[in-house]
C-alpha cells in the first residue's frame, strides 16, 4: 500500500474551536527517520495540529494514518503507547516531585507487591539520563533544575517511551548553544535509529542545520512542504508571513527626543543584576534574550510588580520611588503583560469594563458614582482610534480574537495616558494580520512621543521594530545595540546565549 511509505500522514485536517477555525484543511506527511520542521508564526496552527496528533484535541474532520494504519478517537495515553510522544512548549513538569517520578509518570514500575518500585525507577531513570548525557540524580526535585535541564528531562521522557515519532515544540528556546548542540546530537542519534522527529521552531538557522524537510504554516493552512535544501531562509520567511519583511514592520520615522526613563544599576535578588539603560521620547527600545534571561522581570521591577534590591529609576530627570504597580501608574507608566489570559483580560467582562478598569477615577459623576455615559464615550474614542473590531462595547472580551483582545488591553493602558509603555511579548499568540496592525499601532504611539519598552522572543519583531536593543543572558545585560540594517538575528543570538558579552 502506498500509505506505508510514510510513518505519518495527516490528510485534510480541520479543527474548529468555538468561533475560530484553527486548522483549515492541513496535510502533513512525515517519513521514517525524517526530521521534519514545522515553521510559521504564532497562531498559525502548528501547535494545534500537534495537539490533535497526540490526542489532546479531537479533530473536527480529516484522517490520520500512523505506521500504515488509520487512527482515530484516541487519548494521549493511547498515542504514547502507539509511539507518538511530544515535548511540550510550555514545559509541563510536576515541580515538587523528583525527576524520576516525572519520567515514569503514568507507567511507574511496580514490584511484586504491586507497589511502586523506587529502586527500579531509579535505575531506569539513571540509564535514560545517561543516554542523553544529563548528569543529575534522578531523585532531585524538578523545581531545583534549570529550565534547560527540565527540557532535557522532557526529552529523556520522550525517548524512554521508545517513541516512533517525537514531536519537539520549540525544544531549543531555552537552551544555550552548547545544550542545543547536545540536543542535535541526540536528534541525529534518534534519526539513525529510525525515529522520526517533528521539529517546531522559530529559529530558522537551526532548521537548516537539523531538518530534512520543512512545512510552512500560515493562518491555519500549510502553504508548502519542501526539502530543506530547496529553500533559502528568505523564501521561508516570505512563505511564513505572506509578505516581505518591510511590509510587516511599518516603521514610521520619528524624531527621538530627550531621555524620559533612565534605569541605573537595577538589580533583583534572583533574576537579574546591574541593568542600566535609558529610553528616550519617541523611541522603541527592544529587550531580547532567551526564555529565563530575566527580561520580563526587569520591566516588571521597573513597573513596581517586583521588589528591587538596588538601583535607581529616574523619570524625566527625577528619581522615582516605585514600590507597587500603583506607583508605576502614578509615574505615567503602562504595562501590557505577557500572558494575556492570566494577567490581562477579564474574560467574561465587556470590552468597556476591560478598557476602563484602571481608569474609573476619570469617570466620577458629581455624587461619586461611576458615570457610565462618560465611560462609553471614553471607550468609544479608543475603539475608533486603534480600530478594535467588536460588535459592541458590551461584548465579552473572551469572544474577540486574540489580536483584538490585545488591542483592548492597549486601549486600557492608553486611557491612563502613559508616557512610558512596557509591552511584554505584545504579539504572542495572535495571527499575522493582527500582528501587522499591532506593529502599526506601536509605531504610531512612538511617533506620538511615547517611549516604548518592548520585550520579545521573536527576533524578527525585535529587529523590525526597535530603535535600540538590549540583549540579556541569564540575568545579565550582554549587549546594548543600535539597530541598523546590518544587525542580524545571529548577532543577537550570540549575545543572548552569552557567547558575546560587552559588559
Amino acid at each position: 500500500m502506498e500509505k506505508e511509505k510514510d510513518l505519518l500522514q495527516m490528510v485534510n485536517i480541520e479543527k474548529n474551536f468555538p468561533g475560530v477555525k484553527a486548522l483549515k484543511g492541513v496535510n502533513l506527511n512525515v517519513g521514517y527517520g525524517e526530521v521534519h520542521a514545522l515553521v510559521g508564526e504564532n497562531g498559525a496552527g502548528k501547535s494545534t495540529l500537534m495537539k490533535c496528533l497526540i490526542g489532546l484535541y479531537p479533530v473536527s474532520s480529516g484522517d490520520i494514518y500512523f505506521a500504515g494504519k488509520k487512527i482515530e478517537h484516541y487519548s494521549t495515553a493511547q498515542a504514547l503507547t502507539m509511539g507518538i510522544s511530544m515535548i511540550h512548549q510550555e514545559l509541563s513538569p510536576v515541580l515538587y516531585r523528583p525527576i524520576m517520578e516525572n519520567l515514569w509518570l503514568g507507567r511507574e514500575p511496580l514490584n511484586r507487591f504491586g507497589l511502586v518500585d523506587h529502586q527500579e525507577m531509579y535505575n531506569k531513570s539513571l540509564r535514560v539520563l545517561q543516554e542523553i548525557e544529563l548528569d543529575e540524580d534522578p531523585r532531585t526535585l524538578m523545581v531545583n533544575l534549570t529550565v534547560a535541564k527540565m527540557q532535557m528531562v522532557e526529552i529523556a521522557k520522550a525517548i524512554s517511551y521508545d517513541a516512533k515519532l517525537i514531536i519537539m515544540d520549540e525544544p531549543s528556546s531555552a537552551l544555550t548553544e552548547h545544550e542545543e548542540q547536545q540536543l542535535f546530537k541526540i536528534i541525529r542519534k534518534l534519526k539513525k535509529q529510525g525515529t522520526s522527529i517533528i521539529y517546531i521552531s522559530h529559529r530558522l538557522a537551526e532548521i537548516f542545520e537539523i531538518a530534512d524537510k520543512v512545512t510552512v504554516f500560515r493562518d491555519g493552512k500549510n502553504v508548502g512542504t519542501e526539502a530543506i535544501d530547496q529553500l533559502t531562509m528568505d523564501q521561508i520567511i516570505t512563505m511564513m508571513i505572506g509578505r516581505t519583511m518591510d511590509e510587516m514592520y511599518p516603521k514610521i520615522p520619528c524624531t527621538i527626543g530627550e531621555t524620559i526613563l533612565e534605569v541605573k544599576n537595577l538589580s533583583h535578588k534572583k533574576y537579574f543584576h546591574n541593568i542600566s539603560f535609558e529610553v528616550r521620547k519617541g523611541e522603541i527600545f527592544g529587550i531580547a534574550g532567551l526564555v529565563g534571561a530575566g527580561r520580563t522581570e526587569v520591566i516588571e521591577t521597573i513597573f513596581g510588580m517586583r521588589p528591587k534590591i538596588s538601583g535607581e529609576i529616574w523619570i524625566n530627570g527625577k528619581l522615582a520611588e516605585i514600590n507597587s504597580p500603583m506607583d508605576g501608574i502614578a509615574n505615567k507608566m503602562g504595562f501590557l503583560t505577557e500572558d494575556r489570559r492570566a494577567t490581562g483580560i477579564f474574560a467574561v467582562l465587556g470590552v468597556d469594563s476591560n478598557i476602563a478598569i484602571p481608569n474609573y477615577d476619570q469617570f466620577h459623576s458629581k455624587i461619586g458614582l461611576v458615570d457610565d455615559r462618560a465611560v462609553t464615550k471614553g471607550c468609544n474614542e479608543f475603539v475608533e482610534k486603534i480600530q478594535i473590531k467588536t460588535p459592541s462595547l458590551k461584548q465579552a472580551i473572551q469572544n474577540l480574537s486574540g489580536g483584538n483582545q490585545q488591542k483592548v488591553l492597549m486601549a486600557r493602558w492608553l486611557m491612563t495616558g502613559p508616557d512610558i509603555l512596557f509591552l511584554d511579548e505584545p504579539t504572542r499568540g495572535i495571527d499575522v494580520g493582527a500582528k501587522a496592525e499591532i506593529y502599526k499601532l506601536i509605531t504610531m504611539l512612538a511617533s506620538e512621543g511615547k517611549c516604548i519598552v518592548m520585550v520579545s522572543s521573536e527576533l524578527p519583531e525585535i529587529l523590525g521594530m526597535s530603535d535600540r536593543i538590549m540583549v540579556m543572558h541569564e540575568g545579565k545585560m550582554t549587549g546594548l545595540l543600535e539597530n541598523s540594517s546590518d544587525l542580524t538575528q545571529d548577532t543577537i543570538m550570540r549575545y543572548a546565549t552569552g557567547t558575546q558579552d560587552d559588559f
Binding site: 497526540i54 489532546l56 487519548s75 494521549t76 495515553a77 504514547l80 503507547t81 511530544m86 511540550h88 510550555e90 509541563s92 513538569p93 510536576v94 515541580l95 515538587y96 516531585r97 517520578e101 516525572n102 509518570l105 503514568g106 507507567r107 511507574e108 511496580l110 504491586g114 507497589l115 511502586v116 523506587h118 523545581v143 521522557k157
Partner: protein
C-alpha cells in the same frame, strides 16, 4: 556557613515538629499531670477521629482539592453503623425485630456508605467539572440531611459490647482508637508514597496538564481520591461511635475544618502537589496537645477556640514563606 544553612533547612522543613516538642516540654514542666502515660494516651485517643479524617484530607489536598463534607459523611456513616450494631437490650431499637448482628456488619456498612458518599463527591468533581468546594459543600448538607431523616433526629444508642470495645477497649495496653489510627496512618502512607495511585495524585495536584499528557487518567484518580476520603470518614465514624457507644445525627459537625486545619498545620499546601502523611499526623497532634494542655491549664474553652484559629493562620503564613523561599 554551610553548616548553618543545613540547620536552617532542617528547621524550616521540620519546624512544626519543633513546635510540637516545645509545646510538650513546656506543658510537662508546668503541669506534671500532663506527663502521665494515661494523659498521653488520652491525647492520642482524642485526636484519633479527626486525625483519621486528616489523613484522607491530605490525599485530597495533595490532589489540589478540598472536602467539606467529611463531617456530615461521618455522621451518616455513624448513625447507619450504630443502627446495625444495637444490642438486643436496647430500649428504642431502630430495627425493632432485628437480631444482634456480628460487629463486622456495621463496620462494613459504615465503610461502604463512606465510600459511596466519597465516590459521589469524586464523580461530581471529575465528571461534571464543578469545583471541589461546591460539590462537597452540597454533599455536606445532603449527608447531614440524610443522617437526620434516617434517625428522625434521635440518637441511636445501646450498642453491642464489641462496638464498645472498638471505642474503649485496649490492645496490648493501647486504646483501640489509637491502634486504628496507627493502622490508617500506615495504610495512607503506603497509599500516597508507594502506589501508582499516590504518585499520580501528586502529579494531578502538582500539574494537572502534565499528568494528562503523560497519559494519567485524571478523572479516575480524582474519583478514587474522594472515595478514599469517604472511606476514612467511614473508619472515623466507627471509632467515634465506639467511643460514645452511640451515634447521633448532629455528630462531627465542623470536623471537616479540624481535619483541614491539621493537614494545613502539617505543611500540606493548598496549591496542590505538596504534602506528607506525617505532616497530617503532627498537625493533628499539635491541635490535640494544645486542646489538652489548655484544658489542663484551665483555660476557658471559648478562648481555646481563638488560640486555635491564631495557630492555624500562623502555621500557614510560616509555611508559605518556606515555599516562597524555594520557588
Amino acid at each position: 556557613m554551610k553548616h548553618q544553612n543545613r540547620l536552617q533547612e532542617i528547621f524550616t522543613k521540620y519546624g512544626i515538629v519543633f513546635v510540637l516538642i516545645v509545646m510538650i516540654i513546656a506543658m510537662s514542666m508546668i503541669k506534671p499531670s500532663f506527663r502521665t502515660l494515661n494523659n498521653i494516651l488520652n491525647i492520642l485517643t482524642q485526636c484519633s477521629v479527626y486525625g483519621i479524617l486528616a489523613l484522607g484530607m491530605t490525599v485530597v489536598i495533595v490532589s489540589k482539592g478540598i472536602d467539606l463534607s467529611v463531617g456530615s459523611i461521618l455522621a451518616l456513616c455513624a448513625v447507619i453503623a450504630a443502627s446495625l450494631g444495637q444490642s438486643s437490650t436496647a430500649s428504642t431499637k431502630y430495627f425493632a425485630n432485628m437480631a444482634e448482628l456480628p460487629i463486622i456488619v456495621p463496620i462494613l456498612a459504615g465503610l461502604l456508605i463512606g465510600a459511596i458518599c466519597g465516590a459521589i463527591n469524586g464523580g461530581l468533581i471529575a465528571f461534571t467539572g464543578i469545583p471541589a468546594f461546591i460539590a462537597t459543600l452540597g454533599m455536606m448538607t445532603i449527608c447531614r440531611g440524610f443522617a437526620y431523616i434516617y434517625t428522625s433526629g434521635k440518637p441511636v444508642s445501646t450498642l453491642i459490647p464489641s462496638f464498645e470495645f472498638i471505642g474503649q477497649g485496649r490492645l496490648l495496653g493501647i486504646p483501640m482508637p489509637v491502634v486504628i489510627y496507627l493502622g490508617m496512618i500506615i495504610i495512607t502512607k503506603i497509599l500516597l508514597n508507594n502506589t501508582r495511585f499516590g504518585k499520580r495524585t501528586f502529579a494531578v495536584g502538582g500539574n494537572i496538564n502534565a499528568a494528562e499528557v503523560s497519559g494519567v487518567n485524571v478523572k479516575k484518580i480524582l474519583l478514587w481520591v474522594y472515595t478514599y476520603m469517604g472511606m476514612c470518614a467511614g473508619v472515623a465514624a466507627i471509632v467515634s461511635t465506639g467511643r460514645m457507644v452511640s451515634a447521633q445525627p448532629g455528630l462531627a459537625s465542623g470536623y471537616e475544618l479540624t481535619a483541614i486545619a491539621s493537614t494545613t498545620i502539617g505543611g500540606t499546601s493548598q496549591s496542590g502537589g505538596i504534602g506528607t502523611v506525617w505532616g497530617a499526623v503532627v498537625g493533628a497532634l499539635v491541635l490535640s496537645v494544645m486542646r489538652n494542655g489548655m484544658t489542663i491549664l484551665g483555660i476557658q474553652s471559648y478562648l481555646q477556640q481563638i488560640v486555635e484559629g491564631v495557630v492555624i493562620i500562623v502555621a500557614v503564613i510560616l509555611d508559605m514563606r518556606k515555599n516562597a523561599r524555594k520557588a
